[in-house]
Amino acid sequence: MNLDRLRPAILPVAAVVVALTIGAVIVAVDGSSPLGAATAIWVAAFSGPDAIGATLEKATPLVFAGLAVIVGVKAGLFNIGAQGQLLVGAITSAYAGYRFAGLSPLVHLPLCLLIGVVFGALPAWLAGVLRAKRGVHEVIVTIMLNTIIFNLTDWLAGGPWMEPGQVISRTPPIVGSARMGRVAGLPTGFVLAMLVTVAVWFMLEHTTFGFRLATVGANRHAAHYAGISVGAVTVAAMTLSGALAGLGGAVESLGVVGRFEPGFNAGLGFDGITIALLARVSPRAVVPAALFIGALRASSSELQAGAHVAPAIVDVVLGVALLLVAAPLLLRWLLRMPPSLSTAEVQFTRGWGS
């Protein structure tokens, strides 16, 4: 009934449609059938309970990654390190998942999730502190931390925490008491993701903490004037962002992969950026955006095997969609849409300085 509420969705949906079209053209130029690719995506992502379950599982960490980026952006921070924080959450929760065997599921699973949250928050906290106290730009620090964390987890999974007697670098499997199964066919992790989404939305829209965060993001000087501690909010926002990413990693390990294996979580953090932008930095739109990307991701093997299309086409499509959302003028021009003043574009860079 109230179509105005859907207005903000026009641009991202248009971007996705255009991107999918361009993807189809690329597939065709590359010598494969776009129809075959579309069928493969349908079959792999939506054709039955198993396919839908797989899509939901793929979407789950993406929801967390998207929320992590959004919480940062609201406070004027670009957490490009969700990738690394997710890895930390994934490996620490996996470690707790195989190491602390023998606990009751009621204790073990929450403990593992908590460990993922805390350790995921750690690097983000560091970036927040460096930003607040030393004025080091969070983009640089989190990128550096991404590489450091990647190497660290690679070393852990191939060294101290490696499954004994195996040649592949990976941790032992997580024991049953820490695994996240399904509830009524829905992956538990996805249910958790929905709950957390609502919580983040509530926090941002309805709490004084959310107002502090948004005020710092919108005008740091006014926040300072209004008695909001810009430094404290910066650290808190980064930490929360990292905690969300870490939780995403933990859910991925405990619910989907069943252990930590390097390479399994590649690119999730960057998909988080794509989701945040597709969702126009609104938590309410994170779930649909994550489902869309999750569906594409879930179909990668079917694309390869069924349609003989390199799964990286998904990255191409997402890249184009992101590009169109980031540069709305381009899309408006492409689609002959009138320029609009009401839909504010995302803008939060203040340069390198503090």
Binding site: T208, F211, N219, H221
Partner: protein, 512 residues
């Protein structure tokens, strides 16, 4: 340039005919017509929002007129960019200097038209040219000084040299005295006379009548985008100009009863505060403000006013000294704690500090109380309460906004300022710190805000008023403290003090 024997005003160098500019439904300039003669100093007088800035932007190619024409030396010209304007000999010294702070005077002057030697930038030649120009016009500017180390008055001269270097024959000075000390202002007027003597046509934009009377040959008055007067300066007086400018006789007089000051609310002793670059800006300042009085702070810009205000409101750490509020040392308290003790603060820059432009009016009305009852409970915001409160304030303070859910940056300057004033005056306070409370605000809003400040005083609030406008200080203050180089140079009774005395103390001339 040397034929100054010629009768000034003989040949027209710049002519504007029927120039009109609209922004949507708003007409910024309507059918503006004026002439500037060689060697003439023409005052362009008008209130904020009268259309002066828009006119200047059209003259230097930053805006295109919707109708009308600009003639230079008799030829109709189309100016598409500042480069076009410079090519035609029109240069402007903006209010905000267009100088690169990290570069030297010489580099700034020659930028865009640099001397070169064997393909490389010829720094020596640039410095020599600047020195020559500086000497010819008596500007005393050192070419190798770095701009960010220079005082404001000197930076302004760099802008003038920049214009001269480019061979400007028409020089537009946009509110040039707003940032100057009285002594620097006199110096500038001398320089302007010197330039005119050598044949430069000068448009001197201002809203200060005194300067018009002292330093210009002719006055064009703008009001609501129209020319409402074009007279020789000698044939008019301040009262006549003021009436033209405002459209009615000006009442800068504020009706107020004599103050009945009570106990000392704010007591500052030996305060030292650093500025943003870590240099001492407030240097051992002492000040008392009593309940029920307005203490005005007079002073040339950048003499420590901003740092003083921010230190009082805990937005800036102090290096030394004591600040006692209602008998209590406030050392270590943060912005919010002071707020809760009853310190209200109208910040100098409403867009930077006072408001979040992207927020609804309602949210800005509770910007520093969002986490207090009734606006939130248990960390959850109560939008209904916020909305009720906002409606109340909008009515009480006559904020013209389409709704409480309008974006604040869509409001006019005067209404934005009313939002800040409403927020700060709508609660119990013991001390009100008002910095430039009417800067960039229309006349109607100025009167309203002035009344509110006096009403606060009459309720027993101690008011500390910082203003760059002497008129405002004299109209409102009960006592005036003159600040110079981070210290209070004198405290005068507003009734007996004269503008001249205050001006002299500001400039450091008198033996205070």
């Amino acid at each position: 340039m040397s034929d100054s024997e010629e009768q000034p005003g003989a040949d027209v160098v710049l002519e504007v005919r029927g120039l009109t500019k609209r922004f949507g439904p708003v007409v910024a300039d309507s059918e503006v017509t004026l002439q500037l003669r060689r060697g003439e100093v023409l005052a362009l007088l008008g209130e904020n929002g009268a259309g002066k800035s828009t006119l200047v932007k059209m003259l230097v190619g930053l805006l295109r007129p919707d109708a009308g024409e600009i003639r230079i030396g008799g030829d109709v010209v189309r100016l598409r960019s500042p480069r076009d304007a410079i090519g035609r000999g029109i240069a402007v010294v903006h209010q905000h200097f267009q100088l690169v702070p990290v570069m030297t005077v010489a580099e700034n002057v020659v930028l865009g038209a640099e001397p070169t030697r064997r393909g490389l930038f010829d720094h020596r030649k640039a410095a020599a040219e600047v020195r020559a120009l500086s000497q010819r016009f008596g500007l005393a500017v050192e070419p190798d000084a770095v701009v960010q180390d220079l005082p404001i008055g000197m930076q302004q001269r760099v802008e003038i040299i920049k214009a001269l270097y480019r061979g400007a024959e028409i020089l537009i000075l946009d509110e040039p005295t707003a940032v100057l000390t009285p002594v620097e202002t006199d110096e500038l007027l001398r320089i302007v006379a010197e330039l005119a003597e050598r044949g430069v046509g000068i448009i001197f934009i201002t809203h200060k009548l005194r300067e018009v009377m002292n330093g210009t040959d002719r006055v064009v008055v703008l009001r609501d985008g129209r020319v409402v007067g074009d007279v020789a300066t000698a044939d008019t007086d301040e009262a006549g100009l003021a009436a033209l400018m405002v459209g009615r006789p000006v009442v800068l007089h504020v009706d107020k009863e004599p103050a009945t000051p009570g106990a000392t609310v704010l007591e500052i002793r030996g305060l030292e505060v650093d500025d943003d670059r870590g240099r001492l800006a407030v240097r051992g300042l002492d000040l008392d403000v009593r309940a029920g009085e307005i203490l005005g702070i007079a002073g040339v810009q950048d003499n420590g006013q901003r740092e003083l205000v921010e230190a009082i409101c805990a937005m800036r750490p102090r290096r030394a000294g004591t600040v006692v509020l209602a008998g209590r040392e406030v050392e270590g308290l943060d912005v919010r704690a002071l707020h809760d003790l009853g310190v209200a603060h109208i910040p100098e820059d409403r867009d930077k500090h006072g408001l979040v432009g992207g927020y609804f009016v309602a949210e800005n009305l509770v910007l520093n109380r969002f986490d207090q009852a009734p606006f939130s409970r248990w960390g959850r915001r109560d939008f209904a309460a916020i909305q009720r409160w906002a409606r109340q304030l909008i009515a009480d303070f006559d904020v013209r906004t389409p709704s409480v859910y309008a974006r604040t940056d869509a409001l006019s300057g005067g209404n934005k300022q009313k939002v800040v004033v409403a927020r700060e005056l709508s609660r119990e306070s013991v001390l009100l710190v008002a910095a430039q409370p009417t800067r960039g605000v229309d006349v109607g809003s100025i009167e309203f805000i002035h009344q509110q400040l006096v009403a606060a005083r009459d309720r027993g609030v101690a008011v500390l008023l910082v203003s760059a406008e002497l008129e405002e200080l004299f109209a409102l203050s009960d006592r005036i403290a003159v600040i110079r180089e981070g210290r209070v140079a004198a405290v005068l009774d507003a009734k007996s003090a004269t503008r001249e005395t205050v001006g002299l103390i500001m400039a450091g001339a008198a033996g205070h």
